[in-house]
């Protein structure tokens, strides 16, 4: 059992690093000068966590705003199609 696990880790070691660096591309870049090769995998993972948490917080805040907008009747959601075209989708 342990040998299987060791074999699996040897196979995906590079794959893991590749995936992590791919993930880096999804993150918003703060400073283009310092990063590139210097950004370690651990840093990327940390940044990814923080970014996800930030996005989830934004969803939370926007939900609050939207629920208040719904209540005050600013959004007449009776015509979702109108809003869709309004959003140029």
């Amino acid at each position: 059992m342990s040998s299987r696990r060791a074999r699996a880790s040897r196979l995906t070691e590079d794959e893991l690093n590749n995936l992590i660096f791919k993930l880096h591309a999804s993150l918003p870049h703060h400073s283009n000068s310092t990063s590139d090769k210097k950004t370690s995998a651990a840093k990327i993972l940390k940044r990814t966590c923080n970014y996800i948490k930030k996005l989830q917080k934004e969803v939370d805040d926007l939900s609050d705003g939207l629920s208040q907008a719904l209540a005050s009747g600013d959004i007449n959601a009776a015509d979702a199609d109108t809003i869709t075209t309004f959003l140029q989708l």
Partner: protein
């Protein structure tokens, strides 16, 4: 990462937006049926409802194609049927922990992350981020359009 200009509608974004708008429509009917000024508890309930709608539309727009959306859908369904038992399939958490400590934190924020192996977790994260970002954009656009435009334009 595909960069889509505003002219080219992102199909994922389109799907997300249509589902979220439908959910908002349902919510607005519910809210309009209780015209009295909302209590703090009621406001909190509505806030939670909108947030749940956001994640629900995200998960249903992506469907069962992704592990994170499956995990979200499972969680939402179990909440709907109000089951209290939580079966967390913790498969190989140590395997992840010995490699990178960051992965432990990551599997906590990504839905269903705890049950994934390192490779899946990383690829799921990328997709999850993409969807989260699109969802945030949509919500922001709706909020902006509601505050800037008068209701007569939408009517």
């Amino acid at each position: 990462m595909k960069s889509t200009s505003p002219q080219n509608p992102n199909p994922l974004k389109k799907k997300l937006a249509s589902r979220f708008l439908k959910a908002m429509k349902k919510l607005s009917h519910k809210i309009s049926s209780s015209p009295s000024p909302p209590s703090t508890a009621e406001r909190r309930r509505r806030h939670r409802a909108v947030r749940a709608a956001a994640y629900a539309s995200m998960a249903s727009a992506v469907g069962p194609r992704r592990a994170w959306s499956r995990a979200l859908l499972r969680k939402l369904r179990s909440k709907a049927t109000a089951t209290s038992g939580r079966k967390t399939a913790r498969r190989n958490p140590r395997n992840i922990g010995t490699r990178f400590l960051g992965l432990n934190e990551l599997c906590d924020v990504v839905p269903g992350g705890k049950a994934m192996d390192s490779c899946s977790l990383l690829s799921e994260t990328g997709h999850y981020i993409k969807c989260l970002r699109a969802q945030v954009q949509i919500m922001r656009e709706i909020l902006d359009s509601s505050s800037s435009s008068s209701s007569s334009r939408i009517l």
